[in-house]
């Protein structure tokens, strides 16, 4: 059996790509670097869009990355069911690319916030959360200046009604997100975006004082191996 291959995308200004690749490797999968200017997904089984400030966050977070050549290949593949995870800037890009609804705006407190955040897993049925239990409380770091999730009332209602809110902040909302939403999924459950960083919570020695992020990577690995 060959190892599952998870693509990790680097845009100009992507910062957490090394962390993302490490988290994928630690789970036992192969991390495949994907370059923004290539239209080639290199046959990967899943894709991770890591955090950072792609294109300097100029214009609007994620707004320029959406037009990267790689996205021409990624968007249709995601619509066809390719598992895709976007964290932080990756989440912003997924929203800008309309793979996920809503938008991420300036934090309510107007400051960048880096802290270890308690979140609740609301949906353990997605490609990236199957190893968690619904209702489970975990700790993941957040670190962003523009993570306030907003959407119109109709969209919010749909997200809540269809169980597509995947994570919710606990113990204080770091950015003023509506309904304390930390992460969401698409209708099929293969695309997940969240502001917290599971890739910074996978090792005892480094990162947040938590290894609760490992579940993302064991979830996708199990799904790919069993597929």
């Amino acid at each position: 059996m060959s190892a599952a291959r998870v693509g990790v995308v680097t845009f100009p200004g992507t910062l957490d790509d090394q962390d993302a690749a490490r988290a994928v490797r630690l789970a036992g999968a192969e991390a495949v670097p994907l370059w923004h200017a290539d239209r080639d997904l290199k046959g990967v089984d899943a894709v991770f869009l890591p955090g950072g400030f792609s294109y300097g966050d100029y214009l609007r977070c994620g707004a320029i990355s959406r037009f990267a050549p790689l996205m021409d290949a990624l968007v249709p593949a995601a619509r066809d069911g390719l598992p895709v995870l976007g964290t932080c800037n990756g989440f912003q890009i997924l929203c800008e690319a309309h793979l996920l609804p809503g938008a991420l705006t300036r934090n309510q407190g107007l400051h960048y916030v880096c802290r270890d955040q308690r979140v609740r897993v609301e949906n353990a049925g997605t490609a990236w959360t199957a190893e968690y239990e619904a209702g489970q409380e975990i700790v993941l770091p957040v670190k962003h200046g523009e993570g306030r999730f907003v959407a119109d009332a109709h969209t919010l209602e749909a997200l809540e009604g269809e169980g597509r809110v995947v994570f919710r902040y606990l113990g204080g909302n770091p950015n003023g997100s509506l309904n304390e939403i930390a992460g969401i999924t698409n209708e099929a459950g293969n695309v997940v975006g969240l502001m917290p960083h599971p890739e910074h919570a996978v090792e005892e020695l480094t990162g947040a004082p938590s290894v609760d992020g490992r579940g993302f990577f064991t979830s996708i690995l199990k799904k790919l191996v069993n597929a």
Binding site: P12, G13, L15, D16, Q18, D19, A21, R22, G52, F53, Y55, G56, D57, Y58, H111, Y112, V113, C114, R115, P141, K143, G145, H197, E199, H200, E203, L205, T206, G207, A208
Partner: protein, 751 residues
């Protein structure tokens, strides 16, 4: 528009030149005329004025800084010493670390956000130019009184600038300091440190050898930012015209800097760079003269080829522009295509603007006319050197005579502790540090509020061989101590940074410093500087840690009011097995708490005297460097043997604050007795060379035995556990109350 060419300069020897406005003295201008045998062209004047400014030439400090070399302890770790962009030390297993701290004080007062942001950008490029991957930053900050109104303008701007630039750049911010004192109200200190890692055999230097090699300017295009910044902003005292100087502060683009980092690393990996230099203060002037002076000796540059953001710039302005995110490289003709391809991949503009020659002259042309023709060494290395007069300040003896012994001591120890814990200097700095990304790149082992930041090495560069090692870094400085005794103050700053590194389990290895002082033209300030450098050089010798580089910032004064002399010292250490790092504070219940080191009655310059009495007088604590060395040996050995479960150094606020912070760290209480009879002295004295550790009960004897071998006193104080800090015969305070007081102070002021 006429170009002031070399030919024209020779023909118009008596033309009046604005050298005074550019910060040059009469005799300095005369020397330039002697060197050239004619009057300088306006472009040459621009070059000499910035290169001979205090900021670039160290003309007032040089004679004192030499001690860091002459008194340097023997160290096999030192690979590159002072004089390059940053020092490089051998950290084992084929790895080297390069680190440096640098000031951006004046720009940060004028425009806090951009001033602080470009301070980060500048120091990161220094580290890149050594061939290293920058891996972390930290900032040592000093502001006026926390409740003074201008602090509310400057602090949020500075923090926002560091946050914006550093976070967007993708470098974890792993430590530093924030301190407040009214003496900094008109002269805040923003000292930025960066550390980088590289393979030992891949060090790059700022040199331009090999006639025919190409000179490439790459990175951002050149605009009108910071023109004259080096000489006008960094080297002159503020009076009331700071508004008029606003355009002299540079504007940064961290996105371009991130691309520049990745681009440079790929260039290094492809081995297509002969020499490299970042463009900081004095921009193209500095890069060309320094590269040429350290290379074959000559260079020809066509200034018309410099890509401009503002096409109306004159050659003099191009030479002085401090536009950020620019680098200059020397590349062989055979490698130039490969070089350009890599720049293109990272969307980094790159332009060949000249080539290396063997003429011994730096020649620049503009519209076909020669506008610069100078021996580069005269601008880069042979600047003026001043032996500034100095003498002890008139009030120094009276200040030292006014000791803290007369100050009344409250019998309410609980209240005194809480007052100190909630004072701006000792309160939690989370309001600041939560705006910094401490996790990015995934190698952060320890970060604030730990005593030192620590990074894992092995995962820094994918593909490099495995190592178990890590590096630790800390900065420290105490302006009040240095005001009372600059010699001891500088030593105490080094001692604390050294101790901070050791409590994490890392062995201190090398030093960088940022020396912040008032005007060198004031003999009393110059005395402070002379004493501080002498003290630091002596202490480095005793502790066996060489100075690898640093920065001097003078003119931190408004009118005749200088800041407290503030030497800020950074120490880099190495831990052989990073998994053995010691975490901060009380990490579990049921551990034995021990105090290592002797306690004496020392309140001169203490936080207690400052906060409770607004008093500054007497003498600072004694800098006992032999004791520091012994303590560090114990801490490093104990960590390596796995004896210690948690630790914290004792510094400002003494044992009381160390106990409180150790409880707050993980929410674990403790019950302790005091090591000396006088409870007030035991709790609040600031004697140096002390640390608090917690150990498993069965490891206590081994720790005591280790301490005995190094002559370090070891007192068992009590046990961790419970939800309160209980000090026998004194007080009991719930950890929750401690945390509330500690974490509430800065948000109450800054929102």
């Amino acid at each position: 528009m006429t170009v002031d060419s070399v030919k024209r300069a020779a023909e118009t020897p008596d033309e009046r030149q604005p050298y005074t406005e550019l910060g040059m003295k009469d005799d300095e201008y005369q020397r330039v005329r002697e060197i050239l045998g004619r009057r300088p062209t306006s472009s040459e004047l621009a070059i000499y004025s910035v290169m001979w400014s205090e900021h670039c030439s160290y003309k007032s400090s040089k004679v004192h800084l030499r001690q860091f070399g002459t008194k340097a302890p023997k160290s096999e770790a030192l690979l590159v010493g002072m004089g390059e962009n940053a020092g490089v030390v051998d950290i084992g297993d084929g790895w080297a670390a390069t680190f440096k701290i640098e000031s951006h004080n004046h720009p940060s007062y004028v425009e806090p956000h951009q001033g602080a942001a470009t301070g980060v950008g500048g120091i990161v490029r220094d580290i890149m130019s050594m061939g290293a991957r920058p891996v972390a930053v930290m900032d040592a900050l000093r502001f006026g009184g926390a409740t003074q109104s201008d602090t509310r303008r400057v602090l949020p701007g500075v923090v926002d600038g560091i946050s914006h630039y550093g976070n967007c750049l993708g470098l974890p911010n792993i430590g530093g300091e924030v301190a407040f004192d009214p003496c900094y109200i008109g002269n805040p200190l923003v000292n930025a440190l960066c550390v980088g890692l590289l393979r030992k055999d891949q060090i790059k230097l700022a040199t331009a050898p090999g006639p025919g090699n190409k000179v490439v300017l790459f990175g951002a295009r050149t605009g009108a930012d910071g023109i004259g910044g080096a000489s006008v902003l960094a080297s002159a005292t503020f009076e009331d015209e700071s508004q008029a100087k606003r355009p002299a502060v540079q504007v940064g683009d961290p996105f371009m800097e991130k691309l520049l980092i990745e681009c440079c690393l790929e260039l290094y990996q492809a081995d297509v760079v002969v020499g490299i230099q970042d463009l900081g203060a004095a921009g193209v002037s500095c890069a060309t003269t320094e590269l040429a002076a350290k290379g074959t000796g000559g260079m020809h540059v066509d200034l018309n080829l410099v890509p401009l953001r503002d096409p109306s710039l004159r050659p003099e302005e191009i030479l002085m522009s401090e536009s950020q995110e620019r680098m200059m490289a020397v590349v062989t003709p055979g490698d130039i295509d490969a070089f350009m391809r890599i720049c293109e991949k990272w969307d980094v503009p790159a332009t060949v603007i000249g080539e290396v020659t063997d003429t011994g002259r730096l020649v620049m042309t503009w519209d076909g006319e020669t506008i610069v023709d100078i021996p580069p060494g005269t601008a880069a290395d042979d600047g003026p050197v001043y032996e500034r007069p100095f003498h002890e300040p008139a009030g120094q003896a009276a200040l030292n005579g006014d000791g803290p012994e007369r100050l009344p001591r409250s019998s309410d120890l609980r209240e005194t502790l809480l007052t100190l814990l909630g004072s701006p200097n000792l309160a939690s700095k989370e309001w600041v540090t939560s705006q910094y990304d401490r996790y990015v790149r995934g190698n952060t082992v320890l970060a604030q509020p730990a005593d030192a930041g620590m990074l894992r090495i092995s995962e820094v560069m994918p593909g490099a061989e495995e190592t178990t090692r890590g590096i630790a870094l800390s900065t420290d400085g105490n302006g009040r101590y240095a005001k009372l005794d600059p010699y001891a103050g500088a030593q105490l700053a080094l001692a604390e940074a050294y101790r901070n590194v050791a409590v994490t389990g890392a062995k201190p290895l090398a030093v960088t410093n940022c020396l912040n002082f008032g005007s060198p033209e004031d003999p009393e300030v110059m005395w402070q500087f002379a004493e501080a450098t002498r003290g630091l050089a002596d202490a480095c010798q005793i502790l066996g840690v060489p100075v690898t580089g640093g920065n001097v910032s003078f003119y931190n004064q408004t009118g005749s009011d200088a800041i407290h002399p503030t030497p800020v010292v950074g120490v880099l250490g190495v831990i052989d097995d990073v998994s053995r790092r010691v975490r901060s504070g009380f990490t579990a219940s049921g551990l034995r708490v021990a105090l290592l080191g002797e306690t004496h009655e020392e309140f001169g310059g203490s936080e207690w005297a400052h906060v409770v009495h607004g008093h500054l007088g007497g003498l600072p604590p004694r800098a006992n460097l032999d004791a520091e060395r012994g303590l560090a040996s114990v801490l490093v050995a104990a960590a390596a043997e796995g004896l210690i479960e948690g630790s914290h150094d004792l510094s400002d606020g003494g044992l009381a604050i160390a106990l409180a912070e150790s409880c707050i760290a993980q929410g674990v209480g403790a019950s302790v007795s005091l090591p000396v009879e006088d409870a007030f002295v035991a709790l609040f004295s600031e004697t140096a060379a002390r640390a608090l550790v917690c150990v498993r009960p069965e490891a206590f004897d081994a720790l005591a035995e280790l301490c005995g071998r190094h002559d370090v006193p070891c007192y068992g104080l009590g046990t961790t556990g419970g939800t309160s800090l209980v000090v026998e015969d004194a007080f009991e305070i719930p950890v929750g109350d401690l945390r509330e007081v500690h974490s509430g102070a800065l948000p109450a002021i800054f929102g």
